[in-house]
């Protein structure tokens, strides 16, 4: 029997299960214990596990990150939660200089089972300080693992894997995904970190998409199939670092075309990494250059019309596919593209 639950509920289950199973696990962060409970993902945990294992903290991101490292090397398994990934910029020093290097610097003696969850992506007029993703930053640094679950199944499985991992893992959750529903088993399972996933099978073109861009890619693939009979294969890496690139190469080996649809800036970003790897590994096989879809070289504006331009969507993917396959652009004016407006209105 299929059990459909939301992404938010899937995360909540992962937390409940891991905290039940392992008393070393605890959750902390700015305002985590308020009544909103981080988009509902923290519901019931305070009540069940108490304030010693679920607590709000001072607005001190740098110290909180170091605190997590200290607790992690001294027997606990902390889960630090940020309501916006943008605030992790206050903690880059602890993250890059300390958290990422601690195991190396002790010659491998010490494990760092620290999980850092952060909410990413587009909100509702959030502007340039509350809309980043930053996976490219984190992936750039050796010693950090980075995952971006798209489906509720992966949200639960990857978070559980992260909590059990002996290395620091950053879990990036797109806020528009929280209300998405998907099949999630009741049984205990994990999704191994470093395992890409073919979300949709196809033979004509490969789309590598991250996080929310998988939703856009699915829509684009529908359009391509419906309107032009083109079968796109969608690959969700799920883990940004270390990247499991084999399935991507295999797919491109089959399709000969590749589009990377990432949810971050292009320059020196994850989309560049995938494009560089595919271009090298699939040299001679590629029937068109790898095309990148990502944030443009600007900041996210607040006003809606410009915000809509800033964020790439299914349309951009269709257009890129048409270019790769050397097709003329079809009329998309009748197409109903996803707008968060339908499901959500302010203020958050």
């Amino acid at each position: 029997m299929k059990r459909l639950i939301t992404y938010e509920a899937a995360i909540n289950e992962a937390l409940h299960e891991e905290m039940q199973m392992d008393p070393r696990v605890f959750v902390y962060g700015i305002d985590v214990a308020d009544h909103k409970r981080t988009f509902g993902t923290g519901i019931g945990i305070l009540e069940k596990f108490g304030a010693e294992r679920f607590f709000s903290a001072p607005l001190s991101e740098e110290a909180l990150t170091g605190f997590g490292l200290g607790a992690a090397i001294n027997g606990l398994r902390p889960i630090l939660t940020h309501i916006r990934v943008d605030f992790m910029l206050l903690a880059m020093n602890q993250l890059v200089n300390m958290v990422a290097t601690h195991t190396y610097g002790t010659g491998g003696k010490v494990k760092v089972p620290l999980t850092i969850r952060a909410v990413i992506g587009r909100g509702w007029g959030q502007g340039f300080q509350h809309s980043k993703s930053l996976q490219s930053f984190f992936a750039h640094i050796p010693g950090l693992k980075v995952v971006m679950p798209t489906t509720p199944y992966d949200a639960k499985g990857l978070l559980k894997a992260a909590i059990r991992d002996d290395a620091p893992v950053i879990v990036l959750e797109h806020r528009w995904l929280y209300k998405q529903k998907g099949e999630v088993p009741k049984e205990d399972y994990i999704v191994p970190i470093g395992s890409s996933n073919v979300l949709r099978k196809g033979k004509d073109i490969t789309i590598v998409a991250t996080s929310w861009m998988n939703v856009e890619a699915a829509h684009a693939a529908d359009i391509l199939e419906r309107e032009r009979g083109i079968e796109a294969e969608i690959i969700d890496p799920r883990t940004i670092s270390p990247l499991h690139d084999e399935p991507i190469f295999r797919s491109v080996g089959k399709t000969g075309h590749c589009i990377v649809a990432d949810y971050d800036w292009a320059n020196c970003g994850f989309s560049a990494e995938v494009a560089a790897r595919v271009s090298e590994a699939c040299y001679g096989v590629l029937k068109s250059p790898v095309r990148r879809i990502a944030f443009p070289e600007t900041h996210c504006p607040t006003t809606r019309p410009l915000e809509n331009i800033f964020y790439p969507n299914a349309k951009d993917i269709v257009r890129a596919a048409e270019k790769s396959l050397n097709l003329r652009p079809i009329d998309l004016s009748k197409e109903n593209f996803y707008s968060h407006e339908h499901t959500f209105t302010g203020p958050f």
Partner: protein, 317 residues
Amino acid sequence: MPTSLELYNTLYLIRAAEEGIRKYYSENEMKTPMHMSMGSEAVVVGVLSALQKNDEIFGTYRSHALYLAKTGDTDQFFAEMYGKATGGAKGKAGSMHLSAPERGFLGTSAVVGTTIPIAAGAAFANKRAKNKKMTAVFFGEGAMDEGVFWETINMASLWKLPLLFVCEDNGLAIHTPASERQGHGPIEKIISQFDFQIATSESTDVERIMARAKDVLQKMARTKEPGFLRLKYYRYLEHVGVNYDFDAGYRAKAEFDAWSKKDPILLQKKRCIRKGIPASRLAESEKRICKKIEQSIRLAKQAPFAKEGETYTDVFA
């Protein structure tokens, strides 16, 4: 020095503008998260009235009051709320990033504590220019949790910067009370270990706050030391959004009831009346202000959005 009526007008302008936001927000055309100033009007107007017109200020994402008090403008204000090309930042900024650099409102930020060191740099530039300008930086008490607050306090003291720290203390960061975040006694006792001129207030009386601020500013001018004001107020509405949220359970409505008895706009109105300003004169003022606001909202609604290409401009100066 502003008169009691002038002060009242400014307080009323802020309150009425935010009431305007509340009135139209549900139309879903102001697509920007609102962190309302309601409750803090006397704090903001009191300090700004003690400052000179060409002094410079910085704020936070909760800066409606600051913007309105500093500029008096409602046209660009509402245009920015509606995300229109006629807004101060062509809609790119929205409610959380208000500024009016041409009028001394140098910047705000949605990341807690971030404008504090920037204000220090601006103050340094003024000191270098010997232009006698004061810089004031407004921030919530939550910013004191952040390391950069302490770094800047140290720097301001060390370099004797003409910088006034204004802590708008509502005792809450989102929904978490200061007692669950701060492990120290009154901040002013700590700041007094630096070279600072300091004052605190729990008043909602704009004239008392103005007097306090003035006193500190005078001492600052004399000693060349930076200043620190901790000014208590009560946040009337939810952290973000235009509604009351006493049902959420993290604070009691009774608190609000107590504070609203000494509501800053109410207090100043009473003073005006006590001072013999006719009620009709006040009513006239209020009407004029409300009209101005409705007019600005109308203009904002009618104004165009910025062109698509604006998405990509202004990345570099």
